[in-house]
């Protein structure tokens, strides 16, 4: 018992292992932030709790599977194009489904749960339920001193960071971003100042789905791809958004990174079960003592 504990402690302070943990944490955290940002954007702007968010990630995974795995497009092109195709296609769902649920939080939960179900089983109908693999984009490792880093994870982290930077620029430095932030803060005042709210909903929806689909592609490449794979990203989006505060964009970024590192650290040293219990426990206690999250504002 003591020996095992000692061994574990040694592992934890080993720089090679720690390097792995950090890179894994960054990769997971990047993917989680991508998913959670869209989720929180939709909630902040149109008050829709999108329970189908994980399934858009699933669609992104399949887009990458076809573009990269089957049609052999270069990976750097296949990833954004796949996400864009899913986001454009999803605008149809926006017109058919989401527009009925603008500013209706409760109805949107049940309605998007229905959409979630239709998408999962529609996916099973088309692609069957078995798990597929997207071939890895990069093989090989990068060694920085004593730390050895698998290249594909590093590329995924870099991709996530790039998209996040793009998102930040759009939100902070363009008129659309300004309008979206205004609509999220106070819809009525924003509309009275000439912000076209319906257009902003569609732009926000496009951005949110783009990021979810992109994250789904990256996630599907690291793990595996199946129509039911959206469950985990949905749960993650949930946890991250609660951690950061619902509707808060910096909160989602912070929450994603925190969750990524918790999972990477506990998952490596104590197993997946321990990390699941701890992250659930943290979120439940946070909800009880500070329900508006780390960076949200109390209502």
């Amino acid at each position: 018992m003591l020996e095992a504990l000692k061994f574990q402690l040694e592992m934890m302070t080993n720089p090679i292992m720690l390097g792995q943990v950090v890179v894994n944490g960054l990769t997971l955290g990047g993917i989680y932030v991508l998913i959670a940002l869209g989720f929180t954007l939709l909630f902040g702007i149109m008050r829709v709790v999108n329970f189908a968010h994980g399934e858009f990630a699933m669609l992104g995974g399949f887009a990458l599977y076809y573009l990269y795995g089957q049609f052999k497009l270069p990976w750097l092109i296949a990833v954004p194009i796949g996400a864009a195709i899913v986001a454009f296609g999803s605008l149809i769902l926006e017109l058919a489904v989401f527009r009925w649920f603008y500013q209706k939080m409760f109805q949107s939960m049940i309605g998007t749960l229905g959409l979630n179900m239709a998408l999962i089983y529609g996916g099973v109908l088309v692609w069957d339920a078995f798990e597929r693999q997207i071939p890895p984009a990069f093989t090989g490792v990068l060694s920085l001193g004593t730390v050895i880093v698998p290249l594909d994870k590093l590329v995924v982290a870099a991709m996530a960071v790039m998209v996040l930077a793009g998102f930040y620029i759009i939100m902070k430095h363009t008129r659309y971003g300004l309008a979206m932030r205004a609509a999220a803060q106070d819809l009525e005042i924003a509309e009275s100042q000439g912000v076209n709210a319906i257009l902003m909903y569609k732009v926000a929806f496009f951005i949110a789905i783009f990021m979810a689909a992109l994250a789904g592609g990256l996630y599907g490449q690291i793990y595996s791809l199946s129509p039911t794979m959206g469950e985990r990203p949905l749960l993650v989006a949930f946890i991250v958004v609660i951690l950061g505060g619902m509707g808060s964009i910096p909160g989602a970024a912070l929450g994603g990174i925190i969750l990524g590192f918790i999972e990477s650290f506990l998952g490596t040293f104590f197993g997946a079960l321990a990390s699941a219990f701890v992250s659930f426990g943290i979120v439940i206690s946070l909800l009880i003592f500070r329900p508006w999250g780390l960076m949200g504002t109390p209502e």
């Binding site: 939960m109 619902m246 659930f280």
Partner: protein
């Protein structure tokens, strides 16, 4: 015209809002009629398959109606199936593994579900709106994870199979149907009576104006905890009764999908009166049976149904009914 409005006025509304003395006892006749019909139809249709659907209907009605109690206090719980699981697992484990007599095991199951709710309730019932939904969703996941991972006790993902019938008499499907009907009729009568009492009025008040209710001298949180514990104990009763009927118990039955199903029963039927969850139960138990041969299509159809109902009929089937009434009235008036 007068006659028309009189017939529409007779639709049982479940004592929502103003509950007069007449309305408080007005539910007994329609309720007794429904129970009588439910008790008699198996004599006409003697297929065991159809009777099993009836049994399931009775069981799920307990869960949906108990969730309705929580919803009436202003909280939507997405973790109700976890308490179904606590009741089911406790009953089955004590009955099968510890060899307790079934009624005692069932009682323990009900007490465990109610006790767990009593322990968690004071902490989580201070949350409102979306936060309560989220915390119960996560709590439900956490409890389901315990069912899956505590393999030595619960049998893990496979669960426990070949649970014997609780009593030799209950090995026939018809006998089980009548047991389910009796229990669910008793539970429903209790719930309706509760909703029509002073407690029910306090529940409506604390949903619509929590601070005002507090000022009026109702200890809101204590009241909510009590209702929550009662509702969870009742759903635990469903779990304990249903597991020996299904002969197996597995964590999948108690996951978020099942919790969602119970919410959907309430939402599809209508959340403002007890008629809603009962209609929703019949709808959601019988409809999938009709599409049994096309499981995939059934799920897709179910999802699309949810979207349509939420988009166009947020008050549920009950609202369709009252809308139809208003439409007829307007026609008549012209």
């Amino acid at each position: 015209m007068a006659q028309q409005s009189a017939t529409i006025g007779e639709i049982p509304r479940g004592g929502h809002g103003v509950a007069t003395r007449a309305a408080a006892s007005g539910w007994i006749v329609p309720f007794a009629a429904v129970v009588l019909i439910m008790a008699l139809w198996p004599l006409l249709v003697q297929q065991p398959y159809v009777i099993n659907i009836g049994t399931n209907c009775c069981f799920f009605a307990i869960g949906a109606a108990s969730l309705h109690l929580i919803i009436r206090t202003g909280h939507v719980s997405l973790g109700h199936a976890a308490f179904l699981g606590i009741g089911g697992y406790t009953t089955v484990l004590l009955f099968v593994k510890a060899g307790w007599p079934y009624p005692l095991a069932l009682f323990a199951g009900v007490a465990a579900a109610g006790g767990a709710a009593l322990a968690i309730g004071p902490i989580i019932l201070r949350l409102t709106g979306k936060y309560f939904v989220l915390v119960t969703f996560l709590l439900g996941e956490l409890i389901r994870m315990v069912f899956v991972e505590w393999v030595s006790l619960t049998g893990g993902a496979q669960g426990i199979t070949q649970i014997p019938p609780p009593h030799p008499l209950l090995s026939s499907q018809l006998a089980y149907y009548y047991l389910a009907l009796t229990v669910s009729a008793l539970v429903l009568a209790f719930i309706i009576r509760l909703l029509n009492s002073e407690v029910g009025r306090a529940m409506d008040a604390m949903r619509q104006a929590p601070s005002l209710t507090e000022c009026a001298g109702v200890p809101v949180v204590r009241f909510k905890v009590m209702i929550f514990a009662i509702a969870c104990a009742l759903v635990g009763l469903q779990g304990g009764l249903q597991a020996p009927f299904l002969r197996t118990i597995e964590p999948l039955t108690y996951g978020p999908l099942e919790s969602l199903n119970m919410v959907v029963m309430n939402v599809i039927g209508g959340m403002t009166s007890i008629v809603g969850p009962l209609l929703g139960t019949v709808f959601l138990v019988v409809l999938p049976e009709l599409l049994r041969d096309y499981v995939l299509m059934q799920r897709i159809f179910y999802g699309i149904c949810l979207i349509i109902v939420m988009a166009f009929l947020p008050g549920g089937i009950v609202e369709l009914w009252s809308r139809l009434g208003r439409l007829l009235l307007r026609r008549e008036g012209r």
